[in-house]
Amino acid sequence: MTPQPNALELEDLVMHFGPVRAVDGVSLTIPRGRVTALVGESGSGKSTVGRCVVRLEKPTAGAVRIAGTDVTHLSRRQLRRHRSDVSIVFQDPAGSLDPRMLVGEIVAEPLRLSGRRMSRRDREARIATELGKVGLRAEVARRYPHELSGGQRQRVSIARALISGPKLLIADEPTSALDVSVQASVLNLLADLQRDIGFACLFITHDLSAVEYLADDIAVMYLGQLVEKGSREQIFTRPAHPYTQALLAAAPVADPIRQRQRQPVLLGDDLPSALDPPSGCRFRTRCPLAFDRCAAEVPAQVAVGGGMAACHLVQPDGTRPDVRAAGTSEVLS
């Protein structure tokens, strides 16, 4: 018996745009029906990873396998057969929905492109069902995107992404452009759909707090590389990499008493460029704990608590650095 293939396998994925090393050797596995959050700040390459997975970009090197099929080198024509395996939802629903198409046409477009024949009545019933799943009334099918609110538009994007029954959903900052109160309902919707339908999901975000409900596993990216991977519980309670620790410490909590007792971790804000990443560990120019070895040697990925961290200060026996103990590194140039 062959085991069920993973929903996604990335093997040493590399994506260079000319001299810009946007993604530089990312390996990641998402088992069927699991949610992995890919967390990083602007310029970390997290969105490029997502775009490589749906083959909006052709990777420079490495491999992308979706549900057991290597799609890295497939031609456009060959890709079409696998299009229904993976879908993507983008950050800005206004920009990713064609303003001249009715919502119904937008939602049904993946079906049309797959070449499946359907009677008009069946198609309309199917659209109504899909809109219902994302909490929209069937009438919405006869509206244009501009007639909808931001949250409703994002629901339309989700309906379009799920109509073909993908095994893997890429959600690229799906709630970042939305207001807090709307964000909550879209996150809840994604969580509900994921639980009910059971698709695997790569949830790309800059906001760690948004994924605490959704993610089974978390991968943290910095300047084109993964610095840490682990279960949600491990990342939130025992982060090993100084960058993960800094990210968690920097996100302010909505509680003034707790927030003001927390010790701030201030990283220098001179971010290195992906044109010319620092030698050794790429985080070392902002890391308060950096020492000589960090500039000289690329840190290996050390297994910790079921996950991994790429830092010279993380030991296989579970020893991990504490960035808060190091104080701040305000001046670093």
Partner: protein, 350 residues
Amino acid sequence: MTTVERADTASSAVGTPVLAVRDLSVSFTTEGGTVSAVDRVSLELAPGEIVGMVGESGCGKSVTAMSIAGLLPDSARISGSVRLEGTELVGTREPVLRRVRGKEIAYIFQEPMTSLNPVLTVGRQIGEVLRVHERMSRRAARARAVELLSLVGIPSAGKRVDNYPHQLSGGMRQRVMIAMAVACGPKVLVADEPTTALDVTVQAGILQVLRDLRDRLGTAILIITHDLGVIADIADRVVVMYAGRVVERAPVTDLFAHPHHRYTAGLLSASPTPGVHAGTQRLQEIPGLVPVLSTQPDACTFADRCPAADATCRESAPPLAAVGAAVTHHLAACWHPCPAPRTESPEATP
């Protein structure tokens, strides 16, 4: 509106305000009719105080901020009063306002790149403020620019002063904007979403700079944000806006410990906070949509989304009135304020 006035007098006991906004209303005339963006907003800023104004997009927080120093286009109709140390600014002529802007009231905005001139060095841009408002010589202005850059935490300020904006990171650019804003020692700094375009690890540093400025120079700061985490981090007092109106005003700890307005409470529980909601499956949602701004109805603007709304809420707009213990200066515009969490305080229930 006697309740409002009484409540306002009570809160001014905090100190003589450097900035006092009273019943400020702003409307715009558009093809589709008159749109009321801000409806009778009142707030005060004491010297050295950081007031956070929080609300979602379209709630009128940025329009309020812009109208303080007359930055809105001519199509805006403004009524009410904005007093800077007792001097009325609403209706003041442009040449007078121009002296106030930059010198007495300074602004920083969300996107530093669009606010900086890409073809001038940052030193020249900071120097320009000093040369215009303080009549400094070129050399003195440059020297002061270097001082200001190190004040806002830019390393090797002596070198950075000759950089162009594109040579700096987003966080550095926002620090330059802050340096420019405080160059003339303004009494009031209005920061409109100053960290929204920045990464969270950079945001912490910018908030620290703002806090330092308040501590060292005594600048009063009005910080506008949609992020309750930023408010919890930096604000002394909070103004919550919804659909053009102030719905709640309170000292920061009181607001988070016991929000009285249902919108504030909803916003708080809808914000994902690491560790706080661990183990729970869902976030709290606020049902419905923000109402489209037109003429402000004589009703609570939150009524359609509120779990506690009844006929009263749909017939008359609740005034911003004192709630809870008098000493806290906690105001809310709600007919049916939230009861106190866990520990019951009888006066808080409707």
